[in-house]
């Protein structure tokens, strides 16, 4: 064997006469003089490779649940199919509402409800933008120019110059570097939260936040810590607890993003978040502050720029502000604004932005015109503040009712004064009041929630929305009607 290789080597040398082949010969010779530990190690590796070839693959999930046949049979036995459409009883008040309270007019200051003209105190049409002729004309012009819409997402043939103009104007109005427009108000904050907050991150969130925020924090898959509504002491307690945890595991803390998510003006409570105190906590505990201004945009602050203007806090200190264009501006969609560095991230990560068709240009145009109106006639906001304060003051004198919310808030919640009532019974009384008010020509609405899905169900209430165009006579009429209805319902 050895001689054979030797011969081979010589033959190779003879034919090629290169040094490479001579090297090869010498190397092969070295194989036979290799130290034994080396050969043992190589043999072990070869055995390992052979073993690998015959190893079957398996999933590495450690806690894999294995069920016996009996357990499986039991589970199959236990399973009850759920109906595709839930069994709602025919006399469910929400169902009756949908079937019997029908509007056949614009949702302006007055609506035609079941054929009767009513003063609209239910729509969140704070600045009376719905049905404004200037806006409608501009929207129709835009419709004639662009058609209904591209039916494509913004990043995929859906962007029209109107969208860019809308974003620019919103950013300019809010005084931020950039704004991003979504086609649906609900999706704005619900997409923005999971774009930044991921698994392993931590969210501190107010208990009273609206449903859109709740869906956003759920979609983020982050750890959520809820603090009591507008209770900064409770928030600070959670933060100090978390700071202790962080001290125990500094490495983990270094890669964990912390978010503080609040609403500017809570739609379910009508009160304003304590922003100055929240800012203090934000700097102290290094939180990223997200604020949803769906209600407060266009209604709070001297010129309607929202909670930051109301408290005189620099807007750049809030990391991200989102707002719906569906309330004060009476259009459709929503927007987020902040630093370009923050906003730009959503153009590829905000799911509602990436995967949803862009807003029809006419609705964007309507929002632009409404925004210009708001900018040029700041007295609308003043009137709204005056009306809110007036209604708040008058309604708080109505016996049997309690007005919840800040006086400056255009959303008022009327709860029953006796707070020990069962939810169903309180709801029935409130519905009765709403029904009686409707007969008197005032359209009201009971705040309705998806009761099973809410994290913290707000108490039953009538949600009143103030409109800047209401005059004192109309407001007095509203108070009078509610007063009567309340009295009548308590007597019955």
């Amino acid at each position: 064997m050895f001689n054979f290789l030797h011969m081979c080597g010589l033959a190779a040398e003879a034919t090629l006469s290169t040094t490479a082949s001579w090297d090869l010969y010498e190397t092969i010779q070295a194989l036979f003089q290799a130290p034994s530990y080396h050969l043992v190690f190589e043999a072990a590796l070869i055995l390992w490779i052979v073993g690998l070839l015959f190893t079957k693959s398996y999933s590495s999930k450690v806690n894999k649940l294995t069920l016996t046949d009996k357990e499986k049979a039991d589970l199959v036995e236990e399973w009850q199919p759920e109906p595709l459409v839930p069994n709602v009883p025919e006399d469910d008040p929400e169902l009756i509402n949908i079937r019997t309270r029908i509007v056949d007019s614009k949702l302006g200051k007055y609506v035609t409800l079941n054929g009767q003209k009513c003063l609209n105190m239910a729509s969140l049409n704070f600045l009376a933008m719905v049905g404004k002729e200037v806006i409608e004309e501009e929207a129709v012009k835009s419709l004639k120019k662009y058609g209904v819409g591209a039916c494509g997402p913004r990043g995929f043939y859906g962007t029209v110059d109107v969208h860019l103009e809308e974003e620019e104007k919103l950013a300019q109005f809010m005084g931020t570097e950039e704004a991003i427009v979504y086609s649906y108000g609900f999706a704005t904050i619900a997409s923005a939260i999971p774009a930044y907050s991921k698994r392993g991150d931590i969210i501190f969130c107010d208990e009273g936040v609206c449903f859109a925020i709740q869906k956003g924090i759920q979609a983020s898959r982050s750890k959520v810590k809820m603090f009591r509504h507008n209770d900064t002491a409770d928030l600070e307690r959670l933060l100090t607890l978390h700071a202790e945890e962080e001290r125990k595991d500094v490495k983990k803390a270094r890669v964990t993003r912390k978010f503080l998510i609040v609403e500017g003006l809570y739609v379910n409570y009508g009160d304003i978040c304590p922003l100055p105190k929240l800012m203090e906590l934000k700097w102290k505990y290094k939180l990223r502050l997200f604020m949803d201004e769906s209600i407060s945009f266009g209604t709070l602050g001297k010129t309607g720029r929202g909670v930051t203007e109301h408290f005189n806090v620099p807007i750049d200190d809030v990391d991200f502000i989102s707002a719906s264009l569906e309330n004060a501006l009476g259009s459709f969609g929503g927007f987020g604004c902040g630093k370009s560095y923050v906003i730009d991230h959503q153009r590829l990560s905000g799911l509602g932005y990436c995967f949803s068709a862009s807003t029809p240009p006419m609705l964007s145009q309507a929002a632009i015109v409404a925004l210009d109106l708001l900018k040029n006639t700041p007295d609308m906001v003043d009137r709204l503040h005056a009306n809110s304060a007036y209604l708040h003051e008058k309604l708080s004198r109505v016996p049997g009712l309690r007005v919840v919310g800040d006086t400056v808030s255009p959303v008022l919640h009327l709860q029953l004064a006796e707070s020990d009532r069962k939810r169903a019974s309180a709801m029935a009384t409130l519905r009765c009041i709403v029904q009686m008010a409707e007969e008197e020509g005032v359209a009201l609405v009971v705040a309705s929630y998806l009761e099973k899905d809410e994290r913290h169900l707000p108490p039953p209430s009538i949600r009143l929305a103030v409109n800047c165009d209401l005059d004192e006579k109309e407001m007095d009429r509203v108070v009078e009607v509610i007063d009567h209805a309340c009295l009548a319902s308590s007597n019955s």
Partner: protein, 153 residues
């Protein structure tokens, strides 16, 4: 992972080693790496092989066993933020074809390096250490294990 069309994986890191032609591509890249080492002046053939094996194992260690998470935004809200690329392959399935391939490559390089360095003890030590550094983390018992919490987050 599909070639030429959009993939449909929430995390492409789990499947790119099953793409068509990737094993061949891998081998070609290693061969090119070896030729680059061979072309360096003053290096013997044995040194070039040890260098190839060292560089390969170093790159493999960094890419597969040190780097965590994904280089792209995934739609699963960062499920694999704290998993190394090796742990993500085939969603954690042990002894899958890709894993076997990736285990065999450094061993073959070790054989070649040993052969061309004429079983020199110094080269043996260097090559063995680098081989073990990429073989041990591949063992199923070290899946998700962070010794002393190193590289945990």
């Amino acid at each position: 992972m599909n070639v030429g069309v959009a993939h449909s994986e929430p995390n492409p890191n789990t499947s790119y080693f099953n793409s068509r032609g990737i094993w061949l591509t891998y081998v070609i890249v290693v061969v090119i790496l070896h030729y680059v080492c061979l072309s360096l002046p003053f290096l013997t053939v044995g040194m070039a092989w040890t260098l190839t094996s060292l560089l390969h194992n170093l790159i493999m260690f960094v890419i597969l066993h040190l780097e965590k998470g994904t280089p792209f935004e995934t739609s699963d809200q960062g499920r694999s933020r704290f998993l190394t690329a090796w742990e993500q392959i085939d969603s954690g399935t042990q002894f899958s074809a890709s894993r076997k391939f990736l285990t065999v490559v450094p061993i073959v390089l070790f054989f070649l390096a040993s052969f061309y360095t004429k079983y020199d003890p110094y080269h043996f030590v260097v090559n063995t250490v680098s081989l073990l550094s990429v073989l041990l983390p591949k063992l199923p018992m070290f899946h998700g294990v962070r010794i002393f919490g190193i590289n945990k987050y």
